[in-house]
């Protein structure tokens, strides 16, 4: 399984401009009712740590990239409003630069770091991941990022650091949605340390080769592709190593509906709707949801012996 560096990408695999600049033509798309997806070959799943073990991943057929237009105009980012189109409309008030990240908790190198300093010396790479929202829609997104395990060790987490917690910016003057407590602000999320150190978990700073648009969590966000999308916290300002399991915002809002682990699992339904199938944005027919969002080979071992119905 290859890491795709710019020179490796064949011309045929580069997303045609019309795909990521195109507007949705819904009626045109469904005029071909019965035709599923596309003949175009998608870029192979690319991930892994550039220095060490390369992790293999299976490739699904008929999975093409979600258009740039769709990726950047259909978002759940309640800090900018609860409608799917609200973040694209309202996120222009976010100021992603300059940006600092506070690191604290069970580590030996806490502090307030300027993001540019943090990222200096880290080469980002393209990671094409599925993103599965808990609402049962999904996308395929070419992120620009790097594994957490390239950055977190710098802070020298201690042996007490069993979890890592992330916090989003709290700034109602930049994020008008924070004026309402539809969720408790600021948004928080967390991972178990072994999840965070898994090569699949990345910090993303861009998508489609460009810096993250504000509505996608500029300038610095998490992407954990085997979990429901709400775990992929956006616009991170704080990283805290903790001994005990951190709180996470959707679990706070509805503890019976959203857990901490939130692994994509077609066998464990949301209390109010099924998780067995999903709508891939840009496609008409629903598709079966895959265990761990199709990354079972890479991450299932992290949960051996755990009852995933209890630890949902």
């Amino acid at each position: 399984m290859l890491i795709k560096r710019a020179s490796d990408i064949k011309a045929s695999e580069i997303t045609p401009e019309h795909l990521y600049l195109s507007r949705r033509r819904f009626i045109g798309g469904t005029a071909a009712l019965g035709v599923v997806a596309t003949a175009r070959v998608s870029a192979p799943w690319a991930f892994g740590d550039s220095t060490d073990a390369r992790v293999e991943s299976g490739r699904q057929d008929d999975e093409k990239l979600t258009s740039f237009d769709d990726v950047t105009t259909y978002n759940n980012f309640y800090e900018f409003g609860t409608g799917k189109g609200d973040p694209a409309r309202n996120a222009h008030t976010l100021v992603p630069n300059p940006w600092s990240v506070t690191v604290e908790g069970e580590c030996h190198k806490p502090g307030e770091y300027d993001l540019d300093d943090l990222l200096r010396g880290i080469t980002t790479e393209e990671r094409i991941y599925r993103l599965r929202c808990v609402e049962a829609w999904s996308m395929v997104i070419p992120w620009e990022g790097f594994s957490l395990n390239r950055l977190l060790p710098r802070f020298e987490p201690s042996s007490n650091a069993r979890f890592v917690e992330f916090t989003t910016l709290y700034a109602p003057e930049q994020m008008p949605g924070q004026g309402r407590n539809v969720l408790e602000w600021p948004y928080v999320e967390g991972l178990r340390m072994d999840e965070a150190m898994h090569p699949l978990a990345i910090f993303a700073t861009g998508l489609y080769g460009r810096p993250l648009p504000n509505q996608n969590g500029a300038p610095f966000r998490l992407v954990v592709p085997w979990k429901y999308g709400f775990k992929s916290i956006k616009s991170i300002v704080r990283i805290r190593f903790t001994a005990s399991q951190p709180r996470n915002s959707w679990n706070i809002a509805a503890p019976r509906e959203y857990g901490f682990y939130s692994n994509v699992n077609p066998e464990v339904d949301h209390p109010r709707w099924s998780q067995a199938r999903e709508r891939r944005i840009g496609q008409f027919f629903k598709r079966r949801t895959l265990m761990f969002n199709g990354y079972a080979d890479e991450v299932a071992h992290l949960y051996e012996g755990m009852d995933l119905r209890v630890n949902f």
Binding site: R25, F26, Y74, E135, R272, F285
Partner: protein
């Protein structure tokens, strides 16, 4: 032109155009990329919201008719109610055809196992007998009293619609709660009227026409 003539000759056509506007906009947006990246979800939400809004407007006709003493307004209630049913049907067909694409097993499971769908489906089914019996012929066949009793189902349907909406949102309950408050307010006007009416019904105030009798709720 009398007020009644104005409402029937001009008010009704204008109402029709207003009620058709949402679906016209949906079709237009569908062809011009104005729907969201999840167009099926977008259409489902738009048709559902329109259905619920129209249902509440329908329930608002009688109170407004009484406050303004413009009896002829009752002529607008049937088209409004039928349009609510129209959008409710579109909403369900969007789910059936576009969302599930006739996956009957999943559909039945949804209706039986997901309370928000159970209550939504019920709310729509309750509107069917009301749509069928919406004509003058049926008012005659049933008689004003039985017709009025049957059409009280519209309250149950509206309540079901509000619950359906409330139970499907993830966290932003603002809209469903607003609809719920409006519904409660509209129901309150009926209860107020019922307690007022128990005192006496003088001969002159008995309704003169079939429609007015049917519209006395």
């Amino acid at each position: 032109m009398t007020r009644g003539q104005f409402i029937r000759r001009i008010g009704k056509p204008v109402l029709w155009m207003a009620c058709l506007t949402p679906v016209i906009i949906m079709v237009y947006d569908g062809f011009t990329g104005g729907l969201s990246a999840n167009p099926i979800e977008d259409i489902t939400h738009r048709t559902g919201t329109t259905a619920l809004v129209l249902l509440l407007v329908t329930l608002g006709v009688s109170p407004i008719k009484r406050w303004t003493a413009i009896g002829a307004l009752i002529a607008l209630r049937r088209p409004l109610g039928l349009f609510a049913f129209f959008y409710g049907t579109l909403h369900f067909l969007t789910y059936l055809v576009l969302d599930q694409f006739f996956a009957w097993g999943f559909i039945v499971e949804d209706i039986m196992d997901r309370p928000y769908i159970t209550v939504g489906f019920t709310a729509l089914v309750l509107l069917i007998p009301l749509a069928v019996t919406s004509t003058k012929g049926w008012i005659k066949r049933l008689g004003a009293k039985r017709w009025n009793t049957l059409h009280r189902l519209v309250y149950l349907s509206a309540a079901g619609g509000v619950l359906h909406f409330l139970w499907l949102v993830k966290a932003d309950t603002r809209k469903p709660i607003v609809f719920g408050v409006i519904l409660v307010g509209l129901l309150a006007t009926r209860l107020q009227r019922r307690s007022g009416r128990k005192r006496s019904v003088p001969a002159q105030s008995r309704p003169a026409t079939l429609e007015a009798a049917a519209g006395s709720e």
